[in-house]
């Protein structure tokens, strides 16, 4: 078992200062891929330090939704705000959504960490370089300072000895832990996890979940798309069930495990549990 260090966030100076009690606020979000409506009016809020787990069958739009939260996907209707700020768009005089300037969108994404299903580490950079790249390039932090922070993060996720390894030399679980460290190095106010353990061999899932649990314990605000119900039961504050582009059930983990209301939720849970 990988030893996950305490004080993951202390290495980057703790949680960012609170700007509002509500971190994510989505209201009536619609998205179409061509004629195919994949999000049919999603509304939800995520409070500061809350851990929200999104479950649902494939094609239900859960991945698309969290990709909208940092504007990797455009939306056609509705609003998504992070820390009170409209993400990716501004409203014109008539209240219509207009896509924001690229520079501003990049600025907003600095504070939203994202972990991908396929890790997406930069293969031409070492583990440490993966972690220091954005702080140096985007935040303008001095290289030696970024290295100190990067080594701190890598050792907290149990990979100090792999700092000079290239992604191709790491196992899937190790790569995903580097990816989490890479996102944390930007000192995000919110972390998005897009099926972080789905591409992993079963015995590597635990080490990644350990890191995520530690993050949750330290108060990181997180949206996690995952089918890891054990994780949901242990650390989630709230679970939402999506189906066919809609949220069909929203509640505490206990609610989902003991008393799911929706028929679709019941069949879905019976299949994955």
């Amino acid at each position: 078992m990988v030893q996950v260090g305490k004080d993951l966030l202390a290495t980057v100076g703790g949680l960012p200062a609170a700007t509002s009690p509500i971190v994510v606020e989505a209201s009536d979000v619609h998205k179409w891929f061509g004629h195919n409506e994949v999000l049919k009016g999603i509304s939800l809020t995520v409070k500061r330090q809350e851990v929200l787990v999104v479950i649902g069958p494939s094609g239900s739009g859960k991945t698309t939704f969290i990709r909208c939260v940092n504007h990797l996907e455009k939306i056609q209707q509705g609003r998504i705000k992070v820390n009170g700020q409209l993400i990716g768009y501004r409203e014109d005089a008539n209240g219509k959504l207009v896509e924001d300037r690229e520079k501003n969108i990049a600025m907003q994404r600095r504070d939203i960490g994202m972990v991908f299903q396929r890790f997406n580490l930069f293969p031409h950079k070492t583990a440490l370089e993966n972690v220091t790249e954005a702080p140096c390039q985007v935040r303008g932090i001095r290289e030696d300072e970024a290295k100190t922070i990067g080594m701190g993060l890598l050792s907290r996720v149990g990979l100090a000895h792999k700092s000079d390894a290239f992604p191709a030399q790491l196992s899937g679980g190790q790569q995903q832990r580097v990816a989490i460290a890479r996102a944390l190095a930007m000192k995000p106010a919110l972390m998005l996890f897009d099926e972080p353990t789905s591409a992993l061999d079963p015995e590597m899932i635990g080490e990644v979940l350990e890191v995520m649990k530690e993050l949750a314990r330290e108060g990181m605000t997180m949206i996690v798309v995952s089918h890891e119900m054990g994780f949901a039961r242990e650390v989630a504050d709230r679970v939402v069930m999506m189906d066919d582009g809609q949220i069909i059930e929203d509640g505490t983990p206990e609610h989902f495990f003991t008393n799911p209301q929706h028929e679709r939720t019941k069949t879905f849970l019976s299949k994955i549990l």
């Binding site: 940092n70 990797l72 690229e102 520079k103 990049a106 600025m107 994404r109 600095r110 939203i112 960490g113 994202m114 991908f116 396929r118 890790f119 997406n120 580490l121 930069f122 293969p123 031409h124 950079k125 070492t126 790249e133 954005a134 390039q137 985007v138 935040r139 290239f166 992604p167 191709a168 030399q169 790491l170 196992s171 899937g172 790569q175 890479r182 996102a183 930007m186 591409a199 992993l200 061999d201």
Partner: protein
């Protein structure tokens, strides 16, 4: 199309006839009192005079500068072709379409004679670090570079397209702008895919400089040897002279292939190989070419 389905016998006959013709031609040369002087060949290689060395130097300089221009234009061309902005795509497509689709010889002629005759630009000589660069060389470099840029655009574009879109997304999710993500993340990885075809291009470039012969005043390798064939004691020894020129070109391309192997090795950093192939193995083909040396990245293990 009779010859397509010609029976074996006829094709064999054709080949034999061809060989016979070649033999007759060569013996005809011998009979026509052509005196081979192999000392010209060997001297041109092992004891090159100042003209030959200057020719080598000029060929190399023109090739390198033109190729660099080509790479820079190619990067812009590729970014233009993959841009979200429609006018950028139009411009890039127009550029590649035109310069790939018209003969280089015509482009060279146009850029020098066309522009100077019409007095649009007369290519005055430039003084650089005490070196006078005649207009012909400037125009030649310009034409070769712009032409090369069109081909490089497609090569760079292929390199960019070969990179997993997840790389750009990861870079963006960390707050990088498109330009920074391209420069820091996508292009460095694309370079690995770009270098082998770039090797082809530069190899071609080294030899294509000989097209500048039509400008008259560009004494690169080919022109130097043509001149030797037309004057002095080496007059009328085209076989020896041009064979020697070929050897010089071969030398340049060989050196380049070694340099290319070095570059590929350097860019191979981070690929899943246990041990990168050594330069000696690369150059002499001692290892079986492996997909990973040109940059396929495997996700996990």
């Amino acid at each position: 199309m009779a010859f397509v389905i010609a029976p074996m016998r006829t094709r064999l006959g054709r080949t034999l006839a061809g060989c016979l013709g070649l033999v007759l031609l060569l013996s005809g040369c011998a009979k026509s009192s052509y005196q081979y002087d192999w000392s010209i060949f060997f001297n041109s290689i092992f004891r090159p005079d100042g003209f030959i060395l200057a020719g080598v130097w000029l060929t190399l300089s023109i090739s390198v500068i033109s190729q660099v221009i080509g790479i820079v234009l190619g990067i812009f061309g590729a970014l233009g072709k993959t841009a979200r902005l429609l006018p950028a795509r139009w411009l890039a497509n127009l550029y590649v379409w035109f310069f790939r689709g018209t003969p280089l010889l015509v482009q060279i002629t146009f850029f020098f004679f066309g522009l100077s005759v019409t007095k649009i630009y007369t290519w005055p000589p430039i003084n650089l670090f005490g070196l006078t660069i005649p207009g012909e060389i400037q125009a030649g470099i310009f034409a070769l570079g712009v032409n090369e840029g069109a081909y490089m655009s497609e090569i760079v574009r292929a390199g960019i397209l070969s990179i997993d879109p997840g790389q750009l997304e990861a870079a963006k999710s960390l707050g990088m702008t498109y330009a920074r993500a391209m420069r820091r993340i996508v292009l460095p990885q694309a370079a690995r895919v770009i270098v082998p075809p770039l090797g082809n291009e530069f190899n071609n470039m080294l030899k294509t400089t000989s097209l500048l012969v039509i400008l008259g005043n560009v004494p690169e390798l080919y022109v130097t040897f043509s001149r030797k064939n037309g004057s002095g004691p080496t007059s009328f020894h085209p076989f020896e002279l041009f064979l020697a020129a070929a050897v010089w070109y071969l030398l340049l391309t060989t050196i380049w292939s070694i340099i290319q192997a070095f570059i590929e090795r350097r860019l191979g950093r981070g690929t899943a190989g246990e041990r990168p192939a050594s330069i000696r193995e690369r150059v002499f083909g001692l290892t079986r070419p492996d997909a990973r040396t040109i940059g396929t990245i495997t996700g996990g293990r």
